[in-house]
């Protein structure tokens, strides 16, 4: 008995059973009224000019931080990506070894979540807008670097070799042969990163690094739900606009879709891309000036509270096994919830347009709503702990996976689905058999990548005592226990790198074509 491809996609949803079984045990039921008020307030957000003005101000700061962090991470990522590409080193120096060294070095900044970077910098230089920008730029930059170097090394090298044989110098040959195929992929990917940056900037705000996130958290904690929804609706509007814009540009410029199912070369839109980049540069400067970004501020370290002598015995005495175990459990639970629920919801909702719109709305909310805030909301009715944290992380990632699944379902397997419909199959079964069959492998491969992101993200629900390394880290951070902090960050980083390796292997295995027609698809690619 071996489940067939369409079942793989929905099997992770089985995790709902234990979660539902656990829920009565952890719910305290005290706050259903509050949850009701919260839901009711969605329909009547506060329109008080003072509230709207302050929300718009916060949104401006968040968007500005996202834009600057994104731009910095792209610049950083491109440079580092080229510097860690094997083909670049091989062409220019005849030896690809330095590429692997740089790659290994970049693993460390990548493995530490932007929230940790933010909180660490906050301790060092105090609260200023540049902290959030740099916190986003460091891990995002390292991630972009990895993607860029993966993309570069996966490009066919025939053209490059042909140019080299003709006596063209290394750098010129690289730019000519690899630049054009690389550019559309990088632009497409960077659009997606901008969406991520907006989410991260909001999330950093929740932890007090400024912008809308801070206001969302304050209004939630003071139970001012109508004001909270003012911020949420505006944020939702901005995010949906951004997603639509990115999608539209991607289609207009014939960029590869995020699923990599549909790769066409860049069209004749080069001029538009150039103009867009030229407009972008001065507007970045303007945003930085508006936010009062002062890069020099990073050099003025504030006096740290005196650190006690390191007590490595106490560090060793931390319950490491349970910390690591619950972090992994949290990750698996959240990943299974997100990966399994998205296709299940699509199956239920797909034939009914209004229901599908509702589900899409819920997913959009999940995407923009920072997981720590979901966790705080869940605390109204649930006790803090692993399941609560997993639900919050799961909801957020469900929004991301759901949108991707829908995008993918719209581009793959249509003929098969149509054939089944023509033979009288119901719309849901036609979707399950006709579309999910071909989607199963790439979707689960993306799910594997997502689990690796969730592992990194598990720190953000540490806020609600969701056990594991995340909450211990935040605790050590607030008690200035430098030795503990160092050990925890290193263990976290090691765990993330291990997770990344595992998820890479899972993806390679999933994307391998089972019957050897064609090369295995590339494991990283524009999915990240």
């Amino acid at each position: 008995m071996r489940p067939a491809a369409p079942l793989w996609v929905v099997l992770p949803a089985l995790v709902l059973l234990p979660v539902l079984a656990l829920l009565p045990g952890i719910s305290h039921g005290g706050g259903w009224e509050l949850v009701g008020e919260f839901a009711a307030a969605a329909l009547q957000p506060s329109l008080d000019p003072l509230v709207v003005g302050s929300v718009l101000g916060g949104l401006g700061v968040t968007a500005g931080i996202a834009l600057l962090g994104w731009a910095a991470s792209l610049a950083l990522g491109l440079v580092l990506g080229i510097a860690s590409s094997r083909v670049v080193w091989h062409t220019c120096c005849g030896n690809a070894a330095p590429a692997s060294w740089i790659r290994r070095l970049l693993a460390l900044p990548r493995s530490i979540h932007e929230l940790l970077w933010g909180l660490l910098l906050l301790q060092l230089v105090g609260l200023q807008p540049v902290v959030a920008v740099v916190a986003i730029a460091i891990p995002f930059g390292a991630l972009v670097a990895r993607v860029v170097s993966d993309l570069l090394d996966a490009l066919p090298t025939a053209n490059l070799e042909a140019l080299r044989c003709g006596g063209v110098a290394g750098p010129a040959a690289l730019v000519t042969a690899l630049g054009p195929p690389l550019l559309p992929q990088v632009i497409s990917y960077s659009g997606y990163r901008l969406e991520c940056a907006l989410r991260s900037a909001t999330m950093l705000g929740v932890f007090g690094l400024g912008g809308l996130g801070t206001e969302l958290r304050l209004t939630l904690q003071s139970l001012a739900f109508r004001e909270l929804w003012t911020g949420l609706w505006l944020l939702l509007a901005v995010m949906l606009l951004l997603e639509a814009l990115v999608g539209w540009l991607r289609r207009r410029w014939a960029m590869p879709a995020r699923l990599g199912l549909d790769r066409r070369g860049v069209g004749r839109q080069g001029r538009e891309i150039l103009v867009a980049s030229l407009v972008l540069l001065p507007s970045l400067g303007l945003v930085a000036w508006q936010l009062g970004i002062e890069p020099a501020g990073l050099l003025r370290w504030q006096g740290l509270p005196p650190l006690g002598p390191a007590d490595w015995g106490a560090v060793l005495a931390l319950p490491w096994a349970s910390l690591v175990g619950s972090t992994l459990l949290l990750t698996l639970l959240a990943a299974a919830l997100a990966v399994g629920l998205a296709p299940l919801m699509l199956l239920v909702a797909q034939p009914c347009r209004p229901l599908l719109a509702l589900v899409q709305g819920l997913w959009a909310l999940g995407r923009l709503w920072p997981p720590p805030l979901t966790a705080l909301l869940l605390l109204f009715v649930l006790q803090p702990g692993l399941v609560t944290g997993a639900l919050a992380l799961g909801f957020h990632n469900l929004g991301i996976l759901g949108r991707l699944l829908l995008e993918a379902a719209e581009t793959s397997g249509a003929p098969q689905q149509q054939a089944l419909l023509a033979a009288g199959a119901g719309p849901r079964l036609a979707l399950l058999y006709g579309r999910f069959s071909s989607l199963a492998r790439p979707y689960l491969a993306y799910g594997a990548y997502r689990s690796d992101v969730i592992l990194r993200e598990s720190v953000v629900v540490g806020l609600v005592g969701a056990t594991g390394l995340g909450s211990q880290l935040l605790e050590s951070l607030s008690s200035f226990a430098g030795d503990e902090l160092l050990a925890l960050v290193l263990v976290y980083a090691a765990l993330t790198l291990l997770g990344e390796d595992l998820s890479d292997r899972a993806r390679l295995w999933l994307l391998e074509t089972p019957h050897g027609d064609g090369p295995p698809q590339e494991a990283g690619g524009p999915w990240r």
Partner: protein
């Protein structure tokens, strides 16, 4: 017995000109009808109307004397009687041959069986029987479709059609991408299958393959040009049908 398919005065609008313009056509049980016409004549549109995927802008369609069902259930009972052989076959690559054959039964199966089919081999005897009827080895049942050769795929798609047990067989240029021998084999099989109570409507490009058909229908620019016995078709009619069409 009511005709299996009646298209009455069908119009389908297109962007600049109609894709189908007042087309009427009737298929009796046991009839084998070839649909000829240059690319863009509206053959695929006609077949899409005939299999119920496309609702015409004007005109009416009746299957076995019935108009399009009003409830979802009624429509599905209707659809299962209409079998389509697609040019690109539309087999589900990731599933086994048996799962693909059983997919043709999804219209009559409920969810439990549909899910079970993705876990266990179901109705093996019935699946093996349709394979054998098409001279395929029943050992193929466990193979994923992606592991089959081109000729095997053609036959599996046909086996799936049989498994559906339709009355009206529709085929959209099934011979287009096949080598001459494979095309002749497949055509012979289709013609053989179309014995009463079944009927066949098949679109094709090649006037040299009309021998086994009872009637030939010519379509050009969305209009019916002729509908007559294959034996009475004149070369001049064919020339007129394709005149000027093959040039870009």
């Amino acid at each position: 017995m009511a005709p299996l398919l009646v298209l009455d005065n069908i119009c389908v609008r297109g962007r600049s000109q109609p894709r189908l313009d007042r087309v009427s056509l009737q298929l009796e049980p046991g009839e084998r009808v070839a649909l000829l016409g240059p690319s863009g004549a509206g053959k695929s549109t006609l077949l899409a109307v005939a299999n119920g995927l496309l609702a015409p802008d004007q005109g009416s369609v009746r299957w076995s004397g019935q108009p399009r069902g009003r409830t979802v259930r009624a429509r599905r009972r209707q659809q299962v009687r209409i079998g389509t052989l697609w040019q690109d076959l539309r087999l589900i690559e990731e599933l086994t041959v048996q799962q693909n054959l059983n997919a043709a039964r999804l219209a009559v199966w409920g969810w439990p069986r549909a899910l079970l089919n993705l876990l266990l081999p179901l109705e093996t005897a019935a699946c093996a029987a349709v394979l054998q009827r098409l001279d395929l080895d029943p050992a193929l049942l466990n193979q994923p479709v992606s592991a089959l050769s081109g000729g095997q795929r053609q036959r599996v798609a046909l086996a799936r059609l049989l498994r559906q047990e339709p009355l009206l067989l529709l085929a959209d240029e099934p011979l287009a991408s096949l080598d001459p021998r494979l095309a002749a084999d497949l055509l012979a099989l289709l013609l053989e299958l179309a014995s009463p109570p079944r009927a066949l409507l098949l679109s094709l490009h090649r006037p040299d393959l009309l021998a086994g058909f009872d009637r030939v229908v010519g379509l050009r620019a969305g209009q019916l040009v002729f509908d007559q016995a294959g034996s009475s078709l004149e070369t001049s009619q064919l020339k007129a049908l394709y005149a000027g069409a093959e040039r870009p």
